[in-house]
Symmetry: C2
Subunit: 929 residues, 2 copies
């Protein structure tokens, strides 16, 4: 049987998006439920695929099917395309399975030529309208189909308006329009060396080609890449009879939402213009009116529209974005789709629809984009105040929220100014661990280098602090304390404003608004937890982080980076004392000073976490990170330590590494300096003892970093175990604890079976696993990774979302090797990826026990976790149905013979299986076979 | 049936080394072929294992078996241990399966006490000898068994000799000895608070314990680690009746080799002393005499010994190292073992034994240690001149051979001095690519930092140049041009001598000798090729390297590092011009200048390789490696390039990377600058065109480095293919070529299935794969890797021999994923590991097609490759036999019932299967069940 390439709107339904595109499927659906949709038909997305495969030509068979449907349309409409007296006019529009608003091409008013225009002018008795439609058509066709740039048409129209000294297009009279039409045609001839086609069928086939071609224009490709739209085969083409909102004062056009897309309020919301076409609304020449006002103008149409609102929302069970046109008092619905909404609205709509019984909790949870929750958690810029400001530059939106403050250029200034009560924004070429305190003191951080996972970005997200990173347009002169940017200069102390959600930088103070976490937010979170199977912990090093995370629903600490505890001013001195030690004794003396501080840190965390698990990672970074690099700081430190500058420099040189990423860090430090591991173990167990003596509970989980070899782990575990025994004996308490390892070195992943024999848990350190697995240094890869993503080598920045095929494969290998050895091994992830929804879904799939992310990403992770469970459940159901369909098809074919038609086959299937399932899956199944 | 723990010498044979140790098995073997071996028995290595597992105690059962064998010995000897009138004296010696000379303990003359000594004095009529034996026994027992340091005994003997004003021990008379004995006993009492045991059975059991304990003394542990001896369960203990070479002028003792262990000449070789014990030979008090001289002294014993030489060599089919003692005219053989020999001797002996029909080629090939061939290829230090020189310091033996030259401190000086005809040794803290020319100009390289695979080491080995690396005892002051070392100072221009095989550094000029590659060497190589299945290629970047490698038998170039071609002075300028380009056009202009140079390089290589495959790796290192780092060089370059110092510094800063290892390098450069890949492709194909036009053949293999993602490879392959097509069209020739990739990023290994779809060959870049897989930077890991090896975390430095469990696992994963996709994919290795015999065996096992190594390692690889094939063949045979034995045991048991004794079982087996195979494998099989 021949494949069906063209569907009339009466033949499709909303489940057929893959084949008919979103627009086509929805037009068909609306037609089927009896809404007033102008007649038309859809050419399938499969044709787009064939078009490209067939050297941009449509086969005779496809052309034949289009022609047949056009004939049917002409008969139903009682009009013919190209009829001199009463011509049919159509629109030709794109529409892919995923919405790509404005990316592909549209042609309106197709069917007009020098002959039909005259007939139509007579027929309508409105020649101005008809000639205006004709010139709009030529302009659109010339631009979209024939490739003559829009600006040339605009120049001509501008010239005529100047000559006539008029301001608006609608002041042109019929003669002006006729002159314009001639000039447009000449323009096209001149620019393309081709005539504007007067043959209406040629117009149609050129327009169809143009829509298919627009699938692969730069804009569309970029849009798909940026929005992670993959796996589509092309766009459908919708050919629909034209209706006109600009045929007089009994006509109009508008856009409405079934609920408020900004707040989510369940109130009809929209705008309209009388005597206008859709373009006019967009062009912004006239100010549209609120939808409620339509009632007083055309009350019948209004109540019709209100009815449509109800029908469509009830039918689609989601907030709809509806386009309508009223032609001479008759309402037409031109489009409906799920409306875009703010996160606030998304949450409210989802919750209210569940409460109204319109949708299930599952559906509600799937409706909210996890990452968008970010917007709800951070201080935000007031969009109104943004509108009037010029964007100074744009960096990477590294940590959401907004910040307003005076520019300072180093961490000390940030601290000092903040102490004096100033709000500051810390501007650095890049930040380093020494800047932590300064970052804490700042409203936001702006860096000239580094990516989404640079030090500044990671720490800022961890702090829930706004950050714009890697803004390479800035020339930051830290010495002279000046930012140069496109000629402008910003000096220390001047105010700037950062938008961490968009990466925009503004000069001056913009207004901020506090986020309001509504009760709906809490409900969504609660429902998410009902469905979620994967645990959610947080990366937290301080009591403040831990409290925030608990507030957001974290179920434990998955990563406490102990080194962050050593960067505080009072501590870094002792740390440096330890590093500069020449003997084990000296080192132990310094460690003895650090012990009570570290014990205090753990005690506070254990208190706050109140029995929830706390995973403590032992010292990770190479020691040189704790030493100053600048000459003046070195001199200062030398003075403080009472050593010569030379000694200090020698030590620094000795510790210098060519590739610190791959250097003397993690457990390698603990192995060469076992006393460090011993001190850290002691601090953990002594703090746990205190907690337990207070009658509370705690099960510390000690995590050894940078393990690549089971022997490294055994070495460190021995120290941990021995220290635990000692402390328990000293304090006469019993402490339950676990010892586990990071999986961040590729070797650890491929020897996970060995590791699982001794380690009670694994936590995937996917930042380092990505660095080592892909061989990218996070600090250096910005140079080429952007280009890599643009070239499609990696779909997304592998530091943002896990590289499933590569780094993910290493994770899978590790899981597959570990589970048979230790069935109940606890598996987590604590890299930056732990807060990325796509990564969370991947972790759920490969069977991890939990994800750990920065406090502000905990809600995101909770929702993403729930979505993963729901998707998995759906996948299982779908597979069951697919299997059932497959088996039934075989059964039916056995019964009726191979030559049963697809339609008959489908009908037989409906008798056997839930029709809803068949609708959705049957097409896929058939297409695959 | 109870396990047999003690074997009389009559019960064992030479195949039972695992159980009886080397010494025990050989004593048994000699006994069985009728050689005059003093009677005795062996306690098995299994007992050592039980000893440790049983809290250092022997079970009653084992003690019982020892007692029984002792009884048997007493009966045969007609003497009893502890008999006051005619006591049996025994030696108690260690002996593991692998030879560990001098590492474990030995006790001689056991059985003497205050009573037996008197009886024996009367019996022998030689009281001086007997009392001397007694005091030697106490001294040895006190030291080895009771832990009283040797030096205390020496002090006492020294005191007595001073008092008596005598010089040698043998001048002590009986009374002196008696006094000495008393003082020794008091010493022991004082130091240990225990009496020296007069009970001879207590002596025996203490001695046995001491030997078992010595298995785990520090010396023995270190020896096993250093010599890669793993998997042994312990030492055996040999208890043997004493014979004495110091019973007068008709007694003597000696050591002899069946052939010359230094040259391999087939001539009896050895030394002896009359009236002496083994110790005396070692002590060096008297000068031993050549073995031939024995003929004139004791001609009967001599001809007996000559006969033993024949028998043992014929029996063992290998050069033997024999210890003998003549007691009152009777010859005893105390030990035989395969003799240690120089590589030169090893080759000669192996070849001559094959030619005499004594051994097969397979055996001959297995006899030569591949790494030892190194000694034959490089200029060597004359061992005689070494003997008299003080070792100044010791570094890592990074590249073998020797070098004598004047110290210079930088590459330019090296070059300039060399041009003037001076021989120089380049001394650097560490070397960098800029030093290449200076390294070329030097006799050898000495560095203060860096390991066996540091830049200096790798490049030196590649050049076949002597290098001592990472000599941390040196304080190298490159500015003032002084080396400080243990207080001494060496200034520029002073002579030093390096021994690259031992890592030793000498002050002054030592004599060097040219290596002579004998015909035997060629024969071994030819035989190796007959057995070898894995290919051997070379890493060569220059015509000189390529020629050397061809001479050594390379079958192609496995790695031509194109970047090395850019470091020559004339080229690095153009390279820098390219790097400093601001636009694609500028860059292309510079590349156009590089093209003819690069083409010329390839042309020369193709010429030399004469049709053999040549794998060309495209540009790999990050660009900043080509820019100077020192202030003066930067200024010079700025002048030359006509740019400001600031511009140059900015560019360098822009190119600076935190982790260059993981930075913008390899194909990442080729992707951001496709014009580089294009130039390199063009150079390859244009050179190939020329060669083909000359009527010769060449199949260039283009290798893309640092690929981690199939899309990177596709991107680069497209440029290669397009350029190939262009060049072929331009030159009207057809060039066959292959495009493949390095596997050096872990991600590449785990996505090898994807890569294999497009890549025609893989080459494992195991240096980088180790760096990324283990997360070690080669340049930084020296700090902890040494300790890691000492702690046994890695058995060997993973940059020297492949880490089979980790990096090897990644390789296996890659091979397993690639082969099903592309059955005949060519798989190679081109890291430094390619020349390491253990790694070669691993590569053979996992199914690689070839290894590629530096020219001077080609012969090593050829031999190691052959050994891998032979081992594999043997393993297959062994497994077949094991299977046969297993099945036969079941059959026999079925026939005779479960209770058949082990001996009967073995006898039945002999009837069924080749006895040789049974002998060897039966024990293992039985022990496992």
């Amino acid at each position: 049987m021949a494949e069906k390439f063209v569907y009339s709107f009466k033949e499709g339904n909303k489940e057929m998006k893959e084949l008919l595109g979103g627009k086509g499927a929805n037009l068909a659906e609306m037609t089927s439920i009896g809404l007033p949709v102008p007649l038309g038909f859809t050419i399938t997305t499969r044709v787009c695929d064939f078009y490209y495969k067939n050297n941009k030509k449509l086969s005779a068979e496809i052309q034949e099917q289009i022609f047949t449907k056009l004939k049917e349309l002409e008969i139903e409409m009682g009009k013919r395309l190209g009829d001199k007296n009463d011509p049919l006019l159509v629109s030709v529009r794109s529409g892919a399975a995923s919405s790509m608003p404005g990316m592909m091409d549209t042609i309106l008013n197709l069917g007009l030529n020098d002959e039909t225009v005259e007939g139509l002018a007579i027929k309508t008795g409105n020649p101005r309208f008809v000639y205006d439609s004709y010139r709009r058509f030529i302009q659109m066709f010339g631009d979209v189909v024939m490739g003559v740039e829009h600006k040339f048409f605009e120049e001509i129209i501008h010239r005529i308006k100047s000559q006539k000294m008029i301001k608006f297009d609608n002041e042109l009279n019929v003669d002006d329009l006729k002159r314009l039409i001639e000039m447009y045609k000449q323009l096209i001839k001149m620019k393309t060396n081709k005539m504007f086609p007067s043959d209406v069928h040629e117009q149609l086939s050129m327009a169809i080609d143009a829509v298919f071609n627009s699938w692969n224009n730069d804009r569309a490709i970029t849009y798909r890449r940026l929005n992670n739209i993959y796996g589509l085969i092309g766009t459908a083409v919708n050919i629909q009879s034209m209706v006109f909102g600009n045929m007089g004062e009994d006509s109009g056009t508008g856009v409405c939402f079934t609920r408020n897309p900004s707040t989510g309020e369940n109130k009809f919301y929209g705008e309209f213009l009388m005597n206008a076409q859709g373009e006019d609304v967009v062009a912004g020449i006239r100010t549209p009116r609120k939808i409620e006002e339509l009632e007083s103008i055309m009350s019948a149409n209004y109540s019709q529209l209100v009815n449509v609102r109800k029908i469509l929302e009830a039918h689609y069970r989601d907030m709809q974005d509806i386009e309508f046109t009223i032609e001479k008092g008759k309402l037409y619905i031109l489009q409906t789709r799920n409306g875009k909404r703010t996160s606030q609205a998304a949450v409210r709509i989802a919750v209210e629809m569940v409460e109204n019984g319109m949708i299930s909790k599952e559906t509600a949870l799937m409706r909210v984009e996890p990452s968008s929750l970010n917007q709800l958690l951070h201080k935000q810029l007031d969009n109104n105040s943004k509108k009037n400001m010029k964007v100074l530059a744009k960096g990477l939106p590294a940590s959401p929220g907004a910040a307003v403050g005076r520019v300072v250029f180093n961490a000390e200034d940030a601290y000092e100014w903040a102490v004096k009560g100033e709000k500051v924004v810390l501007v650095r070429l890049e930040t380093s661990p020494e800047d932590i305190e300064g970052m804490h003191s700042s409203q936001g951080i702006l860096t000239g280098r580094g990516g989404m996972t640079s030090h500044a970005a990671v720490v800022a997200r961890g702090m829930g602090k706004c950050c714009v990173a890697g803004c390479s347009d800035l020339i930051i002169n830290e010495i002279e304390k000046i930012i140069e940017i496109n000629g402008a200069r910003i000096r220390e102390g001047e105010f700037i404003t950062l938008d961490g959600s968009s990466g925009e930088i503004f000069l001056g103070k913009l207004e901020l608004v506090e986020p309001i976490l509504s009760g709906n937010f809490g409900k969504i979170m609660q429902w998410a937890d009902e469905y979620r199977k994967i645990g959610v912990r947080t990366n937290a090093d301080t009591p403040k982080d831990a409290s925030t995370a608990i507030k957001f629903g974290a179920e434990g600490i998955g990563l406490c980076r102990t080194e962050h505890m050593f960067f505080e001013e009072s501590r870094i001195k002792v740390m440096r004392e330890m590093i500069l030690s020449n003997t084990k004794q000296e080192r132990e003396r310094a460690l003895l000073k650090l012990l009570p501080m570290q014990r205090g840190d753990f005690y506070s965390l254990f208190q706050i976490m109140n029995g929830l698990p706390v995973t403590i990672r032992f010292l990770d970074p190479p020691l040189h990170e704790f030493l100053p690099k600048e000459e003046d700081k070195i001199q200062e430190l030398a003075r403080e330590m009472g050593v010569s500058v030379e000694v200090l420099k020698d030590k620094t040189a000795e510790l210098h590494e060519f590739n610190p990423m791959l250097g003397h860090r993690g457990c390698r430090l603990g192995i060469t300096f076992p006393e460090i591991t011993e001190m850290q173990s002691r601090a953990v167990f002594e703090a746990a003892s205190e907690i337990i003596k207070e009658g509370k509970s705690i099960v510390p989980e000690i995590m050894i970093p940078i393990v690549g070899n089971i022997k490294e782990f055994e070495h460190q575990k021995k120290i941990v175990d021995e220290t635990a025994r000692k402390v328990m004996r000293e304090n006469n308490v019993l402490i339950e604890y676990k010892t586990g390892t990071m999986i961040e070195v590729p070797r650890a992943a491929v020897t996970a079976d060995e590791l699982a024999e001794k380690a009670e848990f694994f936590s995937f350190g996917t930042n380092d696993l990505t660095q080592m697995g892909c061989g990218f240094s996070r600090d250096d890869s910005a140079k080429f990774l952007k280009e890599y993503v643009e070239l499609g080598i990696y779909k997304r920045d592998p530091f943002e979302t896990i590289d499933q095929e590569g780094v993910g494969e290493l994770m899978k290998i590790a899981v597959q090797k570990a589970k048979p050895v230790r069935e109940n091994i606890k598996l987590g992830i604590c890299g930056e990826h732990g807060g990325d929804p796509e990564t969370i879904e991947f972790c759920h799939k490969i069977g991890l026990s939990y994800v750990s992310c920065s406090p502000f990403r905990v809600p995101i992770a909770r929702l993403a976790g729930a979505q993963s469970s729901i998707k998995e459940k759906k996948k299982i159901e779908e597979n069951a149905y697919k299997k059932m369909i497959k088996e039934s098809i075989i059964e039916i074919r056995n019964k009726f013979g191979e030559r049963i038609s697809i339609d008959e086959l489908e009908n037989e299937l409906y008798k056997k299986i839930n029709p809803k399932a068949v609708e959705n899956l049957f097409t896929q199944e058939i297409l695959q076979n």
